[in-house]
């Protein structure tokens, strides 16, 4: 019997498995890993945030400028909130990107939605970061009864 002609696109039978080189980078793989890694860390950060702000003391009723001033006078809560801000925003933006990819069928709709998404996320991440680092718990001229106690050393 004559040797069958194998079309070049199909590997010869029983040839060893060779992984095809990806041509588009590994972005989706990294994003998949990131969703899982950031999820685990967010679990701790967000639950801690909710517990301290809603469950301790008077809960929501205790929140005002002085409350935030007291928290952000400590590097511990600054770092906590910064990490939470960045991880939650990247995790959320990446998640919504997946959702847009799944449901927006027309290329142009998808492009517009994702541009809006990235723009909104970038603005919010930059704003949130600046707020944490430029925050002044004792702004000059503000009524004293609205300020945290650290503004009045003894």
């Amino acid at each position: 019997m004559a040797q069958a002609q194998t079309p070049s696109a199909i590997a010869a039978p029983r040839s060893p498995y060779a992984r095809r080189k990806t041509t588009r980078g590994n972005f989706e793989l990294y994003s998949w890993v990131f969703m899982r890694a950031s999820g685990v860390v967010l679990l701790v950060l967000v639950f801690g945030h909710l517990f301290v702000n809603l469950m301790v003391g008077e809960g929501v009723h205790a929140i005002d400028f002085a409350f935030v001033g007291g928290k952000w006078s400590s590097p511990f809560w600054q770092v906590w909130d910064l990490l939470m801000l960045w991880l939650a925003m990247f995790h959320g933006t990446n998640g919504v990107r997946t959702v847009v990819n799944d449901y927006a069928q027309r290329d142009s709709t998808r492009g517009v939605l994702k541009s809006l998404l990235y723009l909104a996320s970038a603005i919010v991440v930059i704003l949130g970061t600046l707020v944490i680092f430029t925050f002044n718990p004792c702004p000059p001229g503000a009524p004293a009864e609205l300020l945290p106690s650290i503004c009045f050393p003894n």
Binding site: R36, G39, V40, L42, L43, V46, F47, L50, L54, M55, E58, G59, V60, H61, I63, D64, F65, A66, V68, G69, L85, A88, M89, G92, T93, G95, V96, V99, A120, V124, L127, G128, L130, V131, T134, F135, P139, A142, P143, L146, L147
Partner: protein, 112 residues
């Protein structure tokens, strides 16, 4: 299947809350008065119910997220995915049972 839909819906919901939440927190840079005025609206009964809904959404998303991670990385995960869904539901109920009474008392119990 429904757990995937719920994971998706809660994820998107939390994302939009977070956008607004960072903007309202940014008011601390404007003035103590501006921040307190806006935060005051979070302390009304209606918003109190909204916060309860938000917490429910994030508690489900978080526990179910851990389940998704276990299904993906733990060798026996796929086998126990159904059982783990019931564990997620159980943990959700326990967490909310711990949270809701205290939060609702803060919201409706006078406070200020």
């Amino acid at each position: 299947m429904w757990s995937w839909v719920a994971h998706r819906v809660t994820g998107v919901l939390i994302f939009f809350f977070l956008l607004v939440h960072i903007l309202d927190t940014a008011l601390v840079r404007v003035s103590p008065e501006a921040y307190n005025a806006v935060i005051g609206t979070y302390q009304t009964p209606i918003m109190g119910l909204g916060e309860a809904g938000l917490v429910a959404a994030i508690v489900f998303h978080a526990f179910n997220g851990v389940r998704v991670i276990l299904v993906d990385f733990w060798a026996k995960g796929p086998k126990y995915q159904k059982a783990m869904l019931w564990i997620v539901v159980g943990l959700f109920v326990v967490t909310m049972a711990g949270f809701l009474p205290r939060h609702l008392m803060n919201v409706f119990g006078g406070g200020h």
